[in-house]
Amino acid sequence: MTDKERQELLQQLLKKQKTGKLKPAERYEIPPQDMPEQDPIERRANVNEVATGYTETHARLEAMRCLQCKKAPCIKGCPVQIRIQDFIAAISDGDFKKALVIIKENSLLPAVCGRVCPQEVQCQQTCTVGLKFKDPTKAVSIGRLERFVADLDQDNESVPAVADETGVKVAVIGSGPGGIVAAADTRRAGHDVTIFEAFHKTGGVLVYGIPEFRLPKAIVQREIDTLTKMGVKIVCNFVVGRTRTIEQLMKEDGFDAVYIGVGAGLPRFMGIEGESLVGVYSANEYLTRANLMKAYDFGSGADTPIARSRKVAVIGGGNVAMDSARTAVRLGAEKVYLVYRRTEKEMPARIEEVHHAKEEGIEFHILQSPKRVIGDENSHVTAIECLKYRLGEPDESGRRRPLPIEGSEFQIEVDTVIIAIGNSANPLIRQTTPGLEFNKWGNIVVDENCKTSLEGVYAGGDIVLGAATVILAMGQGRIAAAAINDYLAKKKQKS
């Protein structure tokens, strides 16, 4: 569809909408609006955002595809229950401000979530339009619409209202998505909130993990700036458990409540031979070097080096694997292989990310998994030896279990291996916080209000859920903040 055709269609539909209601059949006929994107060849050589965003015309056409179902099944799919059909109606009416106000009732970071939420397994999975076409990719693009209105608001300087100062101190550990929400919500209640961040920059996984080409850092910084304007204090280079313990924060430094949102943060390795050879990275390390430390600018400003790879194997099938593979392409690798032991169907990565990765020339090696990493006399990686796999019966995750095929060994020549098979819980808080209850995987145990076994201590995100998503971490940040506000109000009444 050309821009002109799109314009004309929109004008026709607007006329119809004015005179009466658009019938569902007419709405079904509106073609799904694709996201404008950078050309795949071009973007292999830059770190700019791949998806460039809807225009107003795209957005209004896409919004008109929404049937405005009475039951709004999309809302049930949203972890923070945004009033989806209402904000979409506002977009179709051209009232973008109203749309944003509706979103912001429930989500603090629409520009982030519009980009990184796995909508296809949340709101868009249950969308009636998608179901009608029996194709989830034809559902209304709720995420793209959310991003569209959030981006229009880029210059808005408005800051959420903050209640009168209570003088009560709240510590938020970690400045990732959960921490940002918990800090904003407790600050809104008038508490004296401090975020402690271990890195020298704020944003957590949004800045060290998710690449610039998928989530520009400026967008995250804007959200952090909003917090600062609200009066939230931010202390970087502060490792809770080392610089100060939670006990010290509460007993000596006068914090009345703590939210722990430190993320998962301990990369899993495979336990195979050769995993410590030079050229083998955890995805965390590879992405942190590339994103947070800007290794893509090495030699023209940045001091942090990263492997100058020719052939890269990324192990795993999640979003982090896609991010790593696509980062390797941008850092100049000639060949990037994605090695995954199940099939594309079982990949936990978003469809869109898989699609983008393929467009950028990443070769998928499915039903394969490395058995060992092979190195030369200098311990530099030269190849991986893989086994072929087949799928057996479904396992407890519901996905079909991959079974190795005996004797199917073969080698892939590579100089870099990136392991992206997930994270375990970082033990630092556990080792330094007596009385805090953990489960057998090292995740913090919380109740439905995100309250831990210690009074005044709440937790959420990956350190509670294991590997989760940005939006789930935000959801827990919000639940915890409400519980903290409640706890602090009750505590005040008692005293």
Binding site: N237, E275, T304
Partner: protein
């Protein structure tokens, strides 16, 4: 918050020391721990440096570093009153201090810096301290006086014989291990190759040997795994499982290769920095 350099001194041709404002670290740090620093916020790399001492009253820590690449050269060019953007810590597990009996503290080159607070703490815990300090030549030997104060016996070696014994540290270490009263513990900190050979000596005598490793790190909180070593056949993270390990279980050969992973790029960055500095010099 930036960290001001309160004072700075050159200890030898390439070794520098500075007292840096870091009140929280100064208050909490224990022997054996380290910090991660980066000079500016946008583009600087993060490097681990051991804490050689601290003054909790003044809120300062003492850093000692050797000029080996761009970041350490840039640090060396900072002057009193200058600032380091980020100092994070204290990181790593503190040294386990108790009265073991007789402890041999072996320091090589810049390794004397992290060794000093450990030796001090061990002395205070009642141990007899035999210090063996090695350097390439007299000029590169650091902290001799400080070690003299806390050591019951002090042996100095230089590679070229310009001071003390002309030997590698492993020679006197072996002799000490051969004495009737065998040492109860050896703590060896220095270049990887030195620690490796110290461990080979002590292994023959069955003397427990502790080493402190300084691998390449990024976050230093357990998140990236870049610092991992092979320990007893298992991967361990130096930043959170260490930095101190039983030296007899460390695969030093692999560790040395990993330390060299970015040699070319480090060289490139250093050359660029030196060139840039020369140009600035010409403009003046």
């Amino acid at each position: 918050m930036s960290h001001r350099i309160v004072s700075k001194r050159q200890l030898s041709e390439d070794v520098f020391t500075a007292e840096v404002e870091a009140p929280l670290v100064a208050k909490e740090r224990k022997p054996g721990q380290f910090v991660i620093i980066s000079i500016n916020n946008e583009y600087s790399e993060r490097i681990p440096l051991t804490i050689a001492g601290a003054d909790p009253e003044k809120g300062t820590i003492c850093l000692i570093w050797q000029r080996v690449g761009k970041t350490t050269a840039e640090m060396a060019d900072l002057q009193q009153g200058g600032e380091i953007a980020n100092v994070t810590g204290p990181l790593g597990k503190p040294t386990h201090i108790e009265n073991f009996g007789t402890v041999v503290c072996v320091g090589g080159g810049i390794g004397n810096a992290p060794l000093l607070p450990i030796a001090k703490a061990l002395k205070e815990a009642g141990n007899t301290i035999i210090s063996i300090l090695g350097a390439r030549n007299k000029e590169l030997l650091i902290l001799e006086d400080e070690f003299a104060k806390i050591s019951d016996e002090l042996i100095i070696t230089t590679d070229d014989g310009s001071y003390g014994r002309k030997a590698l540290v492993t020679e006197p270490l072996k002799e000490v291990c051969q004495r009737d009263r065998k040492p109860d513990l050896v703590v060896a900190i220095g270049p990887a190759i030195m620690m490796k050979f110290c461990c080979e000596v002590t292994r023959q005598f069955g003397i427990p040997t502790q080493v402190s490793l300084n691998t390449i790190m990024v976050d230093a909180t357990g998140m990236c795994g870049g610092c991992r070593i092979e320990y007893d056949g298992q991967p361990k993270f130096v930043c959170v499982d260490g930095p101190e390990f039983d030296g007899h279980k460390v695969d030093f050969d692999l560790m040395m290769k990993r330390l060299n992973a970015y040699k070319d790029q480090e060289q490139q960055a250093y050359e660029q920095y030196k060139k840039h500095k020369c140009k600035i010099g010409l403009d003046e």
